[in-house]
Structure formats: structure tokens, C-alpha cells
């Protein structure tokens, strides 16, 4: 099994989720993160002070999938999260040793 971890622009979440649902991915976990990368941040102004904020809001999507569909899932994320502008984010693939469904105790791909 692989964990696909994608860092995307927040407003793309719904699109990515729909695309993954179409692919038959029934489970994913999402969190709010801040990203630092090539995309330039913005300047914030508070009375005298000016701050350059490099950390931009991003969404991290994590979904664990069977090995054989991993690349398909990666492609689906790329297709749906793509805007072509800097800051679109990354997709990482991470090996997973085991997965268990807490409710039933099912293991491995059955647990996903």
C-alpha cells in the first residue's frame, strides 16, 4: 500500500475530492497546513509594521491506497489540482507497511 500525500491550493480541495471519488477512493484525511516554497508570499501591514509572509495556506490530503492504483491516484490529483501557476503544490508517495480499520479490525487493502 502507498500513502499519497498531496499539498494543494485550498480552493482546489473540492475538485480533487470529487475526482478521487470518481476513481473509487472512499477515504481520505485532510489537514490545514502552511506552505513555504517558490510561490511568493504577500506583505501584511499593521500600523508601522510590514511583514513579508512566506507561509501560505495550503491543504494537505492524505489517502492510503493499494499499490496498483497509486499512480492513477497521483495522476488524478495532478489533473484536478493543476492551475499552472506557481504554488500548485506537490504529491508525494510513501510506502505503508500495514493498515487496519479500527471498527472491524480488517487489515491491509481491505481496511482502506
Amino acid at each position: 500500500m502507498k500513502k499519497i500525500e498531496a499539498i494543494i491550493k485550498p480552493f482546489k480541495l473540492d475538485e480533487v475530492k470529487s475526482k478521487l471519488s470518481e476513481l473509487g477512493i472512499h477515504g481520505l484525511t485532510v489537514s490545514e497546513v502552511k506552505g513555504f516554497g517558490r510561490q511568493k508570499g504577500h506583505t501584511e501591514l499593521y500600523r508601522g509594521a510590514e511583514y513579508v509572509v512566506d507561509f501560505l495556506p495550503k491543504i494537505k490530503i492524505e489517502t492510503v491506497v493499494p499499490d496498483h492504483i497509486a499512480m492513477e491516484v497521483v495522476e488524478a490529483i495532478i489533473a484536478s489540482a493543476h492551475t499552472g501557476r506557481i504554488g500548485d503544490g506537490k504529491v508525494f508517495v510513501i510506502p505503508i507497511d500495514e493498515a487496519v480499520r479500527i471498527r472491524t479490525g480488517e487489515r491491509g487493502e481491505e481496511a482502506l
Binding site: 480552493f11 473540492d14 504577500h42 506583505t43 501584511e44 501591514l45
Partner: protein, 452 residues
């Protein structure tokens, strides 16, 4: 680059009128005529109540309305939405002192506008102006009315939320106040205003404030178009407690709005106070029941919106109807406005914060209901409505409603069309996605990590 260029241009358009305000100021300095000691007719109790009421009505807008509205938008637009109301308070306060009050309440021209002879509050001093209020300083009447002139455009911004260009907004507010609000106020409340002459009853601003803002918001919703993602994406309120605080401050402040409109601390003010509270309550309950029955759950936002709808509906009637009538007016407000908001989705325009549904519909219902429930037993200076034997009043009310609808709708369309050509109405899609807080103001509402 293009974005930058556009910004610069519109920047000038927005700064210019503010500079204009400043430039006009010295002209007005001559107006600062020696104030005679107030005549002995000033009543201290009435004056105390009018100053209190003026403070309450300002509190309705800042922070009341900006919390009600600010809580309903998404986090990324929270500050921009708050800024709308806050800057309107500043803009109109200066506009009103310079020319707004004169256009609204100054010596009449042809029944449709005041003249500029009170420019810079020339002659508007501590002495009462008995044509408006015989027992309080003229300036107390002026500043009370100012607070109405502030809240009205602020109400409209519910439709500007999350997408309007800030510079366009600034200019719109000044134009709208001058060309729509000031004439309307003159028609209804100004000495010799044509709707006043006609006998239209509007105790505290059903037409002038609520219909005009609701209808202008409709025009604005059509001109602005939908927010990116509207109808596809969820756009839930980011901070509902803020909205309920806002609704509560509106409720409390509305006592100044309606009971203050008696211009005295007397029985009429007390009656207005009581019916205002009762209608708000009845409408909050009826909207909640509507939600409960139709959607399965009594929502908090529904109850809060209901209270506001009831307050809107009772506004024109508050000096003319009794407590029991106010329950009916409140229920009508709750039921009609909640229905209007439910229907909106199908009509396809994006009235982001339901200004049309609450103020347009609620104000119209209230103005007509005044023609139904008004009673000379409550206010001898008023008139009877249909239910008290005078069907003619309903017709007069209808004329006032229709005139306000047409004038505000067409006027707003014209102003926005001009501004659209001149400087554009909306921010760019990138800015809209980033949110107006960062893109227009360079600030975020809630900063950094919670761990900081």
C-alpha cells in the same frame, strides 16, 4: 502588471472624493456662525434621549451590522466586510456635515430635494428647528439623522461582500448617499417633501432606509454577478457567534432607531420601544418555526435573521401601531423574509448576505403593514390604516413603496453602470480567491498559528 495599473487608476478615483471632502471643508468654515445660546425651549430629558438614541444607532452599524455581516462571510473576507461598515461611518459623517444634511433636510426645492443653504451646517446650531423637533438642539436632530444616513448604505454592502473593489465601493457610497439617500430622505421626512405632503407614514425609515437599501442591493446583485464558486461550493458563515452578537446589538440599538424617532422621551417613544421589541421577538420565533417545520431544525441564524426582519418590518409602523398589531407585523416579517431567502436560491442572483430578502421584502411588508395597522389611537398625528377604517392610507403607502423601489433601483443601476465603465466593479478572480482581506487591505483577520 495590469492588476497594478487598474489598482492605481481606481485608487485615484477613490482618493479624489475623499480629498474633495477635505477641500470643501474650508469653504464651509465660514458657515461656523456664532451659536446663540439655545432658546429656553430645549428639553433636557428629550435631549438626553436623543443623544443616547444617536449613540445607539451608530452602535447598530459599528459594531452591530459589521458583526452581523462579518460573521456571515468566509474568513478570508472578514475584514473587508467589516471595513465596509466602518468606512461608511467615516465617509457619511463628513458628507452629511458638509452637504448631505442640507440636501436632505434643508429648505425644499420642488418637493424633491433640499437646497445647499445649510452647507457645512450653516445655521444648524444649538437652537431647535421647530419644523423638525422643537425641544432639542437642531444639531441633535441632525446627528440623529446622520446615523440613519450611515446605516442605510452599510446595509447595502451585504451584496458587495467578498467581491467588490474597494475603491469602487468608496465612490459608490458617496454617490449613492448624495443622489439616492439624500433625496429620498427629503421626500419622506423633509419639510415639503412630496411623499410627506402626500401623507405617507414612515415613522423611522421603512422606505428611506430599508426598502431603499434592499432594492439597491438587488440592483447591485444583478450588476456584480455571482461570487466565484457560488452555487457549487459551500460558503458557510465563518463566525456565527459574531453574527448573533451583531443581531443582538441591532436589536438593542433599534430602540434608538425607532423610539428615538419620536424625537422626545415621551409616551410615543415608549410605545415605539415596546412595539419594536415585540415585533423583533415575534419575527424571531416565526422564522425559527419556519425553519423547524420546513428544514427540520430550528436554526440560530434563522432566529437572528428573524429578529432583524421583525425590526425592519416594524420600523415604519413603530409610531403608529400598538403592541398586539406589532405581533402580527413581526410574524409577517419573519414568514415573508424567510420565504424570500429560501426562494432566492432559485432566482439565481447572488445577494450574498440577503439584503433583498430581509430589508427589501421586510421593508416593503412593513410599509404596507403600516397602511393596515396604523391607528390614530396610538398617534393622533398619524392616521388610521385599513383595519381601522381608512383604506386610503394603504394606497398612499403603496405609492411611497413603489416610488422608492423605482427610484432606488434605477438610480443604483445608473451609478453602478457608470462606475463599471469608469473603474470596474469587481476585484480580479485571483484576488477574489485569495480573499479581499489580503488582496485589498494587506491584512488577515486571525493571524498566525494558534500556538503563537
Amino acid at each position: 502588471m495590469k492588476v497594478k495599473g487598474v489598482m492605481k487608476k481606481s485608487f485615484i478615483w477613490a482618493i479624489l472624493p475623499i480629498l474633495l471632502l477635505i477641500i470643501l471643508t474650508p469653504l464651509a468654515l465660514g458657515a461656523e456662525t456664532p451659536e446663540a445660546q439655545p432658546l429656553h425651549t430645549i428639553d433636557k430629558g428629550d435631549t438626553a434621549w436623543m443623544l443616547t438614541s444617536s449613540a445607539l444607532v451608530l452602535m447598530m452599524t459599528i459594531p452591530g451590522l459589521f458583526l452581523f455581516y462579518g460573521g456571515l462571510v468566509r474568513t478570508k473576507n472578514a475584514l473587508g466586510t467589516i471595513m465596509h461598515s466602518f468606512i461608511i461611518a467615516a465617509l457619511i459623517s463628513v458628507q452629511w456635515v458638509l452637504w448631505g444634511y442640507s440636501l436632505s433636510f434643508g429648505p425644499d426645492k420642488w418637493g424633491i430635494i433640499g437646497s445647499l443653504s445649510w452647507f457645512g451646517l450653516n445655521g444648524v446650531g444649538a437652537d431647535p428647528n421647530p419644523a423638525y423637533a422643537a425641544t432639542i438642539p437642531h444639531q441633535a436632530f441632525m446627528v440623529f439623522q446622520l446615523m440613519f444616513a450611515i446605516i442605510t448604505p452599510a446595509l447595502i454592502t451585504g451584496t458587495f461582500a467578498e467581491r467588490a473593489k474597494f475603491s469602487t465601493f468608496v465612490l459608490f457610497v458617496l454617490l449613492w448617499a448624495t443622489f439616492i439617500y439624500d433625496p429620498l430622505a427629503h421626500w419622506v421626512w423633509g419639510v415639503k417633501g412630496w411623499l410627506r405632503e402626500l401623507g405617507a407614514l414612515d415613522f423611522a425609515g421603512g422606505t428611506v432606509v430599508h426598502i431603499s437599501s434592499g432594492v439597491s442591493a438587488l440592483a447591485a446583485a444583478l450588476m456584480f454577478g455571482k461570487r466565484i464558486g457560488y452555487g457549487r461550493e459551500a460558503m458557510p458563515p465563518h463566525n456565527l457567534p459574531f453574527s448573533v452578537i451583531g443581531a443582538s446589538l441591532l436589536w438593542v440599538g433599534w430602540f434608538g432607531f425607532n423610539a428615538g424617532s419620536a424625537l422626545a422621551a415621551d409616551g410615543l417613544a415608549t410605545n415605539a420601544f415596546v412595539v419594536t421589541n415585540t415585533a423583533a421577538a415575534a419575527a424571531a420565533l416565526s422564522w425559527m418555526v419556519m425553519d423547524w417545520v420546513l428544514k427540520g431544525k430550528p436554526t440560530v441564524l434563522g432566529a437572528a435573521s428573524g429578529a432583524v426582519a421583525g425590526l425592519v418590518a416594524i420600523t415604519p409602523a413603530s409610531g403608529f401601531v400598538g403592541p398586539i398589531s406589532s405581533i402580527f407585523i413581526g410574524i409577517g416579517g419573519g414568514v415573508l423574509c424567510s420565504t424570500a431567502c429560501n426562494v432566492k436560491m432559485k432566482l439565481g442572483y447572488d445577494d450574498s448576505l440577503d439584503v433583498v430578502g430581509v430589508h427589501g421584502i421586510g421593508g416593503t411588508w412593513g410599509a404596507l403593514a403600516t397602511g393596515l395597522f396604523a391607528s390614530k389611537a396610538i398617534n393622533a398625528a398619524g392616521n388610521n390604516g385599513l383595519f381601522f377604517g381608512n383604506p386610503a392610507q394603504l394606497w398612499v403607502q403603496f405609492v411611497a413603496v413603489a416610488a422608492t423601489w423605482i427610484f432606488a433601483f434605477v438610480g443604483t443601476l445608473i451609478i453602478l453602470s457608470v462606475l463599471k465603465v469608469m473603474m470596474g466593479l469587481r476585484i480580479s478572480p485571483e484576488e477574489e480567491i485569495e480573499g479581499v482581506d489580503i488582496s485589498a487591505h494587506g491584512e488577515v483577520a486571525y493571524s498566525g498559528f494558534h500556538t503563537k
